[in-house]
């Protein structure tokens, strides 16, 4: 029983990371109706920035803060410079841009930092936190950080005028312009926020999977599965999906299919959800009058 519990809790820790990245995917999806394949690489790249800062002697939490800010700016920059020109382009053109971003960020990271695997520090102490034996302190801390980020995002979108304007711009750009919302900037802000959330996910997962330019490949797949399970247009669904995928992946890996086949779980989930329930479990069926 202890073993199962341990696997579940560890699954929740990585699940939180999937949830964050899935949420970033959903945020972009809601605004553009496209899945940003480069979301994982943006997270990876910013995690390298954090690594550079820590290596240069900056204490962890200030480095964390700077990285989140840099990621936010990078997200906005990418939207303004790369995405905006293809705003009205056909879907496939935009997908190609996303894939190009993925490849470019991956290669640039490899070029600057080499492909050698690096260890990334955890900000949490080595001794068990609060006497909890079932989870490593980092896993527990990662869950805490993830939940904080999610709560902050929820509060931002739910209770602030800017959050409301961003939601409005994503779902009805024309009406948004008619009430004076600068829709283009709202989209850019969305990219910034998604990149910032991704950066947190990257820094939380790097101590577990180690830092290398390809570290986010598998994680993006899990996040994608999480977003689909939850419903690609539902932020809450993405979060729940993230935790569910994390736990499922861990349990199946430990007891059923073995660790080597873990990634298959993500792929099977993606195909399964698309076949059986394309709107996911929490994807809203919007009520509209004809």
């Amino acid at each position: 029983m202890d073993v199962v519990l341990h696997q579940v809790l560890a699954g929740l820790a990585t699940g939180g990371i999937y949830a964050s990245l899935a949420l970033a995917l959903v945020m972009i999806y809601q605004a553009t109706h496209l899945v940003n394949f480069a979301q994982g690489e943006i997270a990876m790249f910013t995690t390298y920035i954090a690594w550079s800062l820590v290596n240069a002697g900056v204490p962890y939490w200030p480095a964390f803060g700077i990285t989140v800010a840099v990621a936010f700016a990078l997200g906005i920059l990418i939207e303004r410079v790369v995405i905006r020109p293809v705003e009205n382009a056909p879907v496939l053109a935009v997908v190609v841009v996303f894939i190009a971003l993925l490849v470019i960020l991956n290669s640039v990271a490899g070029w600057i930092y080499t492909y050698t695997i690096k260890s990334f520090p955890s900000p949490f102490p080595k001794e068990p936190l609060f006497g909890i034996r079932y989870m490593s302190p980092h896993e527990l801390g990662a869950i805490g950080v993830t939940l904080l980020v999610l709560a902050a995002l929820y509060a931002f979108f739910r209770f602030t005028p800017l959050g409301l304007a961003m939601r409005a711009a994503a779902q009805n750009p024309q009406s948004s312009r008619l009430v004076g919302i600068r829709v283009g900037w709202m989209l850019a802000l969305g990219w910034g926020l998604a990149a910032a959330v991704g950066a947190v996910a990257g820094m939380m997962v790097a101590p577990i999977v180690y830092l290398d330019p390809n570290m986010m490949g598998g994680i993006l797949l899990y996040a994608f599965a999480a977003a689909l399970v939850g419903g690609i247009d539902s932020p809450m669904g993405a979060v729940i999906g993230g935790f569910a995928v994390g736990v499922l992946e861990n349990l199946l890996g430990a007891f059923v299919i073995g660790n080597e086949l873990k990634l298959t779980v993500a792929l099977a989930l993606i195909i399964g959800v698309l076949l059986v329930r394309p709107s996911g479990f929490f994807g809203k069926v919007h009520v509209t009058r004809v």
């Binding site: 304007a165 939601r167 009805n172 312009r177 009430v179 919007h286 009520v287 009058r289």
Partner: protein, 236 residues
């Protein structure tokens, strides 16, 4: 000085020209009606004024040129638009829809009291305050669109068929409210309507459009007694 002055305004959708150089003006505090059959270019005129289309020609609002400016900047000058099709934010609540109307305003307390004022005008919206706006009936969404525009506290309101989808009793109620707002707050209104009789009752000036041109202009009472208008648009 006229509040709105439009001269030689052309507009097109793609390669199809829809407005062929229209001229008109509105005095501050007035209600002006834009009448005409389907396809005459009434909705297009309102869209062109809001910068939602490619245009040529000149549009001056309170002396300032607003031609070819971005929609969101034009709105910030105090021009609210009740668009064709209502423009409801379907997945947001009624209250969120209304608050978005006041997005560019910084006078928070006045926004709160305006919100209550809208609920006073349209009690149905207050009942549906926390409800997803997509579940409102067509008529309720029309009230929501008018209220959302009013939440801007505009100087000029562009109303595209505000009576569309409303029961006759509600239309009268709505027009009554519009007149009250016009008189009490000096909000000028440019009204596009199919219901010419009601529009002419509310408006003090009117322009008649046909295939992208203005063919007749005058005081509402003059247009009402014009034989051609009466036969074609008033139906008696």
């Amino acid at each position: 000085m006229a509040l709105l002055e439009v001269s030689r305004l052309h507009a097109r959708y793609g390669h199809t020209r829809v407005l062929h150089g229209i001229d008109f003006r509105m005095e501050e505090g007035s209600i002006t009606a834009l009448l005409g059959a389907n396809g005459a270019g009434k909705t297009t005129t309102l869209r062109a004024l809001c910068g939602m289309l490619k245009t040529e020609g000149e549009v001056r609002f309170a002396g300032e040129s607003i031609a070819r400016r971005m929609t969101e900047d034009i709105v910030r000058l105090g021009i609210a638009h009740v668009p064709d099709g209502r423009g409801t934010f379907l997945n947001l609540t009624t209250e969120e829809n209304l608050r978005l109307g006041a997005y560019v305003r910084r006078d928070k307390n006045a926004v709160e009291s305006d919100l209550e004022r809208m609920f006073g005008y349209f009690p149905r919206l207050k009942e549906r305050r926390r409800q997803q706006a997509g579940t409102l009936s067509g008529g309720e969404q029309q009230m929501l669109a008018v209220s959302r525009a009013l939440m801007l506290s505009p100087k000029l309101m562009l109303l595209d068929e505000p009576s569309f989808g409303l029961a006759p009793l509600l239309v009268r109620e709505l027009f009554h409210i519009l007149r009250r707002i016009n008189e009490a707050e000096r909000v000028s209104m440019l009204l596009v309507e199919q219901n010419a009789a009601m529009a002419l009752d509310l408006a003090d000036h009117a322009y008649l459009m046909e295939t992208g041109r203005i063919v007749l202009a005058g005081k509402s009472c003059e247009l009402k007694s014009d034989d051609a208008v009466r036969r074609s648009y008033l139906g008696y």
